[in-house]
């Protein structure tokens, strides 16, 4: 996973509630056996018409939002399925940061596993940032836990310390866990003694 320290880039606003994983990445793209290449499929039905031509009115089809790195969305962003294809598509498009009043649990977790920072902020603060999303650059500083809007105003946010640490250092979760392999084995031995039917 790539390190995430300071991100500067354009923010696109999709001020809708309940944007679900089928909207972010429809089922026909779940057949891939690769992680990459899903950027063109992100928000497919909103982005393209029936003949698969771009819909010019959709924000991500407009300059400078084609280069967006930050997405501002409504509450319950990413609800629905566990498909990691949704964050893979967002990442492949170029997004590294999602900002919304709330996120669905599995999607939230999946984003962090792929180096996408999800920032949860109160609705009014998301709206205030959205009002400034005119194509100018925002800066998200994970070390300082701050977002600087184009007008220079600073919004602070909170994040679980483990997630922050792992993102800042680009750590591999599996390698971290394998450092505790002896504890896992001890757990298994104890569980097997107490609940032998789990080990048949």
């Amino acid at each position: 996973m790539d390190k995430f320290t300071v991100l500067t880039g354009v923010a696109a606003a999709l001020p809708m509630v309940n944007i679900d994983t089928d909207m972010i990445m429809p089922k026909q793209f779940l057949k891939t056996i690769k992680r990459t290449g899903l950027g063109t499929a992100a928000f497919f039905d909103m982005r393209y018409d029936e003949s698969e031509a771009e819909r010019p009115e959709f924000i991500l089809n407009q300059a400078p939002y084609r280069q967006s790195k930050i997405l501002l969305a409504g509450r319950n962003f990413g609800c629905g399925s566990s498909r990691e294809h949704a964050p893979w598509g967002l990442l492949d498009f170029g997004f590294r940061c999602m900002i919304a009043p709330s996120f669905a649990d599995i999607f939230y977790n999946n984003c962090f596993k792929n180096g996408i920072l999800c920032v949860t902020l109160p609705e009014e603060q998301v709206e205030a940032l959205t009002a400034q999303a005119d194509g100018s650059d925002f800066t998200v500083d994970l070390d300082k836990l701050e977002i600087t809007a184009p007008d220079g105003s600073v919004t602070t946010f909170e994040l679980d310390p483990t997630r922050r640490h792992n993102m800042l250092n680009g750590l591999d979760d599996i390698a971290l866990t394998l450092e505790h392999l002896d504890k896992i084995k001890t757990f298994e031995a104890k569980q097997q003694a107490e609940q032998p039917w789990l080990y048949t």
Partner: protein, 471 residues
């Protein structure tokens, strides 16, 4: 005295392997269910990092999402991508030594149907799968939740997951459901009440007579759709019905171990006085058959109601959301739900593809014909469900009514296999999601119970099953 704990607290505590300084906990996973859609990149990850599985005896693989529901599926799968994904599951399972149930095995079916059916799903286990409807298994008092592919890889490599503990939420439904109201109506009514984000950050425990009086299959329907209420997992404490269901299943504990297991399972319940962070209390007697009208599972109403009118809604988000839903669904505000014509009826999925669901639909449809304007698909959730249904003659009832009797698959629950809606087509569906395009681009989904779906098939429109049955 020790602090009183919820069932979730107990399941969490008993699986905690290690706690890190930042507040994350390493949770041991007792059962890992895998299917073809969310595993290829996980195995690819293991290969790239030159890692092996920590152990193989707690993982099982079964193809479901891409499997066609037509009888010729063993000879050919038209879509090359589906074929490749299915083959990849088989090769990966073989290469890494994971037990694999092939497509032509009678046990093949939707991953959440086969776990319980094989007795792999047991009280007290932690169960994961790269699929959000893993919540289903909570019906047994197991802590079961969906994970993304990175976590699938993590589980394969370590048999653990690094997690943050959720909060405790109680949903208590007192009293019994009225006649004609099913477990599906119950969970739809709950989602209508709490909303699709109502359970976010929480694990829900369901308590009350409305749940204890349900069969295990009814409980699975409830827990299955917990994710539609935003919670990662749903739980129902195990009881005699749970033990009865599991007794003699192929992978259930045997002989001496059975007694010991049951004795342990009986301890799996919330202590009196345990605190929940959030509580919702509902009366069962008020719940009648429900159906969704919009593009989110929370867009749900009793069948006697009418399509909502966005004019007059004060919340601007709600108003624009409703307008968008109605436009997508091709519905006029204030239209009575009872009477909305449908083109397709789908009975199946991990929500309602079990034997009791098929029996319930058959009992409504028996002696009737599927309306000329409707195509009806009945798709058993597993080969064993199909076999049992055929033993009972349910296939004959569906076929005589003019429905199609298919092979086990996720089928029309999500359009990854050939069963999809065409743009603008309207479907009465027993599945779990009515998102835009879920059943096919431009397709319109109304979620309901198997009984209500059968009634829609007979009349050609959404209707109150209680009227059809009493005729």
């Amino acid at each position: 005295m020790a602090q009183p704990r919820t069932l979730y607290d107990k399941l969490w505590d008993s699986h905690a392997v290690h706690q890190d300084a930042g507040g994350g906990t390493l949770i041991y996973i007792d059962l890992h269910l895998t299917h073809e859609v969310t595993t290829p990149q996980a195995y690819e990850g293991l290969r790239l990092a030159n890692r092996r599985m920590h152990r193989t005896d707690k993982t099982i693989a079964v193809p479901d999402h891409n499997v066609p529901s037509t009888p010729d599926r063993m000879e050919k799968i038209e879509d090359p991508e589906s074929r490749l994904q299915l083959e990849t599951l088989k090769t990966n399972s073989e290469d890494f030594g994971v037990e694999y149930i092939p497509m032509d095995d009678i046990r093949q079916g939707i991953v959440h149907i086969i776990g319980p059916e094989q007795g792999l799903t047991q009280p007290g286990k932690t169960i994961v799968c790269g699929d959000s409807h893993t919540a289903t298994h909570g019906a047994f008092g197991a802590l079961a939740f969906g994970i993304g592919t990175s976590d699938v890889e993590h589980t394969l490599a370590t048999q653990t997951l690094s997690m943050q503990k959720s909060k405790n939420m109680l949903v208590r439904v007192d009293g019994k459901l009225p006649v004609g109201t099913t477990s599906k109506d119950l969970i739809l009514a709950i989602i209508g009440r709490i909303g699709t984000a109502g359970g976010t950050g929480h694990v829900i425990e369901y308590q009350g007579e409305a749940f204890t009086s349900l069969s295990m299959e009814g409980r699975m329907t409830v827990c299955n759709m917990t994710i539609e209420g935003g919670a990662r997992a749903g739980l129902i404490a195990p009881d005699e019905k749970t033990f009865e269901y599991l007794k003699g299943k192929p992978r259930s504990p045997k002989s001496n171990a059975w007694e010991a297991a049951v004795a342990f399972w009986k301890t799996l319940k919330t202590d009196d006085d345990a605190k929940f962070d959030k509580e919702v209390i509902i009366k069962a007697e008020d719940i009648i058959p429900h159906v969704t009208w919009g593009t989110s599972p929370e867009d749900v109403l009793p069948i006697t109601a009418s399509v909502p009118n966005p004019n007059g809604m004060t919340d601007p988000n709600k108003k624009s959301g409703t307008e968008r839903s109605l436009k997508y669904m091709g519905l006029e505000a204030d239209t009575p739900l009872d009477g909305i014509p449908v083109d397709k009826v789908f009975i199946g999925s991990c929500t309602n593809g079990r034997i009791e669901d098929l029996r319930a639909a058959a009992s409504v449809i028996k002696g009737h014909k599927v309306a000329d304007t409707v195509q009806m698909l009945v798709v058993p959730g597993s080969g064993l469900v199909k076999y049992q249904a055929e033993e009972e003659g349910l296939d004959e009832i569906f076929l005589a009514a003019g429905a199609e009797w298919r092979e086990p698959s996720c089928s029309m629950c999500l359009g990854m296999n050939p069963d999809i809606l065409q743009p603008g087509e309207r479907c009465a569906s027993t599945s779990n999601r009515n998102f835009e395009g879920r059943q096919g681009r431009g397709g319109r989904t109304h979620l309901l119970s198997p009984e209500m779906a059968a009634a829609a098939a007979v009349t050609g429109h959404l209707t109150d099953v209680r009227k059809v049955v009493s005729q």
